[in-house]
Amino acid sequence: MDNKSNHSRAKTWLRALVNDSCEIVAPLKSVLVCDAVLFDEHVRYLAVIPNPENRFPRARNGEVGLDEAWTLAEAVREVVADDERQTKRAIIAVVDVNGQAYGRREESLGLFLACASAVAAYATARLSGHPVVSLIVGHAVSGGFLAHGYQANRILAIEAPEVLVHAMGKSAIARVTRRDHDELDKYSGEIIPMSGDIKVYAKLGTLHTLITGVCGDSPSMADVQRVRHELKFAIAHARAGSVDLSNRLESPEALENRKASLEVRRRLTNQWNSLPD
């Protein structure tokens, strides 16, 4: 996760997906926005990329920091405002983020609120009828992913090395849970939610599609075209479905590996409906 200063799969994939057909705008060096056409519909792509010269030193490696979070929120809200009386465009989050920025300034200035603004923007867009689709092409970590990607109707991921979803960096997890790396490796091998590997993450059922056989770092034109088709299917699926996140618990994987989630929902709902007044 560390030596990534200029490399960003999000940038690579965004460029490949739009293939010079439209302008990629950078309202911030670390936030890319592109209004493009995907087959027969207009979409907006969004990506967070590293900026080694970020004015916030703790957000130079592709983290979602203060500027990034508020700027993402603005870019998403713009779509909702522009489309109020017409077709609700799909918003596609291309995800390769190193979590949230860890820093004193970030804390003082309320990074938690900044990230919440991005969450609210994406969730509101979805609730207003915009299909929100995430495409994980690299790291999807912690607060960075919560802010950029996790509010999607449909989440896609490519299956490639260094594509992972996790709640925190390994060293941080080891320290906070007071385990060493070997123990952690053992657990993440046995306990599905503790593994960051995208193939294991897929077992939780949150992914709509895991796209296999594509190259993560240098996708071929065939790879890109495949992903474009998957994005199109995901958007259509989202438009046909509900605006909430319920589809995440309907997959065969969720039925198998999120039994507790389903049990909680079933039993709590029954109890709620049985209460007087």
């Binding site: 804390e107 938690f112 912690s142 919560l146 507790a260 909680v264």
Partner: protein, 293 residues
């Protein structure tokens, strides 16, 4: 009405019962009107985490979250509290789903014509790392549920301490329609230990309690306009403040939607200075009943 109407820090009456010292369930009881408390998925239901025992960790029968439906100052509400003493109040598959599901049910009832507000008493370190990706996933579901519910009714967050509110759950707090903190409470994305680990001791010394509270504590959050009320650690005061928040209804604009405003404030920040105390409070969240009183 401005946010100041929520504040009761000028209250000079002697402190009564401590809210912070209460357990999660007791905190919920303290806020609910008597005779109106119904617990959902109580400890007697024994819905425990499916992931802890296999890791040699003792589970708690309610997985660290108490969910009740009842009335708060006469308003129908779901009141939810995390148990800070159990694994740091962290969110796992079961505890997080309890929260998300309860909020979704409140939204469903509200949309069906039975307005049901929400009060979230947040004492939590965020994702339960022993459940990592499931904790993160259910927190995203909680976020979705809060954004959906707050369109219609108040979702009130309380961060009293002593664990504070961190990680993905700090985002949940920021999504609330109003936020109440004590001075003892802390609200931030990352805890001091994690920042020290990731960025070094010069960035933040996790042993320096005064520094930490000056960055993430209730006083700082209130003075920089990131929360709506700063209260003393007193059950009656907190109850009263929650009642006022329910009466006030929804803000004209959520803090988390004030994007243009915050981008402007942020652009004016001098990032060469470390000891930035935060924004000058040039804006505040205005409250008023939804249909313009």
């Amino acid at each position: 009405m401005t946010k100041h109407a929520l504040v009761s820090t000028r209250d000079n009456t002697p402190l009564g019962q401590s809210f912070i010292e209460l357990r999660a369930r007791e905190r919920v009881h303290a806020l609910l009107d008597p005779g109106s408390r119904h617990e959902l998925l109580s400890p007697y239901d024994r819905v425990i985490s499916p992931w802890l025992l296999q890791q040699g960790i003792v589970a708690q029968f309610d997985d660290g979250v108490a969910v009740f439906r009842g009335k708060v100052a006469g308003h129908r509400a779901v009141v939810i509290a995390t148990e800070g003493a159990f694994l740091g109040g962290s969110i796992g598959e079961v505890s997080g789903t309890k929260i998300a599901c309860a909020l979704e049910l409140a939204c469903k009832d509200t949309q069906a014509g039975v307005p049901t507000a929400a009060v979230l008493i947040l004492d939590t370190g965020g994702v339960r790392l022993q459940e990592a990706n499931l904790g993160l996933a259910v927190i995203s579901e909680i976020h979705s549920a809060i954004v959906a519910l707050r369109r219609h009714v108040p979702v009130i967050g309380i961060v009293a301490g002593m664990v504070g509110c961190f990680g993905g759950m700090a985002l949940s707090a920021a999504l609330c329609s109003s936020l109440i903190m004590t001075r003892q409470g802390r609200l931030g994305m990352n805890g001091a230990e994690v920042i020290e680990q990731e960025a070094g001791i010069d960035e933040l010394d996790s042993a320096d309690r005064e520094l930490i509270w000056s960055i993430q504590g209730g006083e700082q959050r209130y003075s920089t306009n990131l929360v709506d009320a700063l209260v003393r650690d007193d059950v009656s005061e907190i109850k009263r403040t929650v009642a006022i928040a329910l009466e006030q209804g929804l803000p004209t604009e959520y803090r988390s939607d004030q994007v243009t405003n915050y981008l402007r404030l942020l652009r004016a920040v001098d990032t060469s200075e470390y000891l930035n105390a935060g924004y000058t409070p040039v804006s505040c969240v205005e409250y008023g009943a939804k249909n313009g009183q």
